[in-house]
Symmetry: C2
Subunit: 489 residues, 2 copies
Amino acid sequence: MERVIDVRNGRNLTMLTDFYELTMGNGYMKEGVSDTIAYFDMFFRRVPDGGGYCIMAGVDQLMEYLENLTFSKEDIEYLRGKGIFSEEFLSYLENFKFECDVWAVPEGTPVFPNEPLVIVRGPIIQAQFVETMILLTINHQTLIATKANRIVRAAKGRPVLEFGSRRAQGYDGAIYGSRAAIVGGCSSSSNTLAEIMFNVPSSGTMAHSWVQLFDTELEAFRKWANAYPSNCSLLIDTYNVLKSGVPNAITVFDEIVVPSGFRPKSVRIDSGDITYLTKETRRMLDEAGYSDVKIIVSNSLDEHIIRDVLNQGAEIDIFGVGERLITAKSEPVFGGVYKLVAVEKDGRVIPRIKISENQEKITNPHFKKVYRIFTKKNDKAIADVICEHDEVIDENEPLTIFDPVYTWKQKVVTSFYARPLHVQLFSQGKPVYDSPTVLEIRDYSAKETDKLWAEVLRFENPHNYYVDLSQKLWDTRQDLLISHSREYI
Amino acid sequence: MERVIDVRNGRNLTMLTDFYELTMGNGYMKEGVSDTIAYFDMFFRRVPDGGGYCIMAGVDQLMEYLENLTFSKEDIEYLRGKGIFSEEFLSYLENFKFECDVWAVPEGTPVFPNEPLVIVRGPIIQAQFVETMILLTINHQTLIATKANRIVRAAKGRPVLEFGSRRAQGYDGAIYGSRAAIVGGCSSSSNTLAEIMFNVPSSGTMAHSWVQLFDTELEAFRKWANAYPSNCSLLIDTYNVLKSGVPNAITVFDEIVVPSGFRPKSVRIDSGDITYLTKETRRMLDEAGYSDVKIIVSNSLDEHIIRDVLNQGAEIDIFGVGERLITAKSEPVFGGVYKLVAVEKDGRVIPRIKISENQEKITNPHFKKVYRIFTKKNDKAIADVICEHDEVIDENEPLTIFDPVYTWKQKVVTSFYARPLHVQLFSQGKPVYDSPTVLEIRDYSAKETDKLWAEVLRFENPHNYYVDLSQKLWDTRQDLLISHSREYI
């Protein structure tokens, strides 16, 4: 067992970085450009699962990371041992003090392709270094919050419980995955640590092993009802739901729970034909006088299966969703990228672009500001407009927005208000933003999602929400494209 | 910001558990059965991606977790606040001492569906509690090691570098994902922390941002060669690989690297038509006298794309593989489960079974021992035989193995040796196993994979490796099935 760091007792994530961030840092310093002020955008190009939007998440953890950036003596020793880093660079790291400005879209906000979710401005040696962790943090939580938002919408108001810890991709996949699932709208998580860390309710009752431990299912149910008469929830599919699980549950409700002065809470079904079994279970419970007992279902669910079983008339009150949520199984990668968009020279901001043979991979240059445009009529969001950093949208003038590729697709907007999309997280390295609680973020997210048109909310083939460039930024981009094209193509 | 625990300074994962492990624990105690000795198997039912086998991983982290199981005062306070746990249970947790026996298949071993990867024997209150973390740990690392093994095989001896940290599902997804990728055969990881924690080489050079920072690509390459003349690797696709990247690289090799007395190392291509670009790049480098300069490729690769581009004659020396490896994108869930298989009564081991309408979900009961059978002729693995715990396979007698479903499919094996598959990790709560290093595990894994027949190694439609039951265990299972079937169906 060779580990140097015990992750449970003093974990330092500063070195969770792609090694090239360090070779570049050392290179910037060697070439005398490490203090050049650079601007980076973190953004994504495509919504997973063909959806219409994503839900921003992970800002609180990003701040935690940036606030705690420190290289330990051991880190420095390790780097020295690689034999490629200058002493000047190592001593810079040893005395590292974060100095960047950082802006981000608040957690829970619906976000769209090609707009910056995080903007970093600072000495390139620093703004570069934080790339890996910005991407890792935002990519992961935004992926899961987005998936949770879809699943919760499919459940049409029924609570969705996050059950996936055992199938998560690593411990933090479970921990921050639970957090992101709540941001996306889940009611609670089975993960106990998530309650301790994020003050989000955790819950759970019994597994099949409880039932198997005893000689019969009936005995197992009796024991459980004895232990938890006031909060009796039974897992009824260990042997046979309708022939054994439901009748035994009713027996125990009659025999123990009701005589103790309580109402039983729920039954859970974790396998089999959900639609058929829940309809029959509902009928049997109702006939026995237990129409108030909830039916919980939890078997490889996602937004599509939930929609289907509800369409089929399944009688479900609560969904438990596991592996397909906690790993975003249908599309488990959130492809956020972090690109240099400008540098400062003599106090002026010079935009930079990354060309590609792939049209979609060409970046939007420059230090930006994004406005979300809402119509005053019903507060629905109409479009996001990406501007240069010093542009102001005048709400009293008609606003012309246009597609950045098919520029003849234009629209003049009146009677609107424009809300800047970003908040500032750090000012010259100092934190200046106080994260809301996870439950506050969940409420905010639900409200902001409601401001999207129904056409954008569709699971399949949603309307493409407009993310446009201001005329000024469009001109800047066009100029850069033309000059690079003349040079290289 | 509401967190109680700072994950970077004193992380305790004991509470990373599904809440129901705690409600069951409390229930076992209330009902006086918490000391009942129970046996649990952790196993999986299906190989991801339609492959022929998985690569076991995560044992070292599982041991670390089990060795450090402790409930802090804050954990106990939190649980007390839930108002459903008895003081007897809380005081048990406060004085928790792990007492179980644990066996596992060593990391790096090829493993197959339905055989136990981990076996736990102990008081049910403990053997139950560790479920979530056993599954989380083994599911995650086995998933990634298995995917890495596929990708590395596709590369046919060329080094595969793990590049995926930024797209991992959470910090541990990156950290332990890197580790598992090395177990599965990757040469190194871009994740610096992985080198520090697991003593596995990390590496990396430059990003597009380095190139963009300077006014021209040529200037950027010159600066890099000045900073790293002895180890010069250039990213050549920021603007145009063939018109700009390769010519500029050659200029800088000629101008700076060679005159400094070094040979340039490599060029990297991260976008575009890999086959065409690498062939042309190879030709241009060769013509300029740089046939020793390696070509690294890294753009959304997986085993299928690697196989395809190599078949097309792409000139690639090294692969960098990111998101599709670190998230096992094509199938991001490893469906390991943890099932009660036996209990002790009056010192006798009583097998237990979980029935399901789904044939594949019916469990194999009993406390088990697994033998891997190798033919003496060429040391290839023929079958795994799952036995009851006290069975011994006599290598001097012919061994009849048979399919557990189609029992007429039989085979008599002679001239074989039988190797027990498990090692013991804990004896009555004490660790008794010393994990090899990650690099040792990688070597062992490569050797064990070589002992599988080529038909089992295929990416698609591999031969089903035999995982059979001993006659004794088969009889036990059949008896339990018949008795449950009479009772419930």
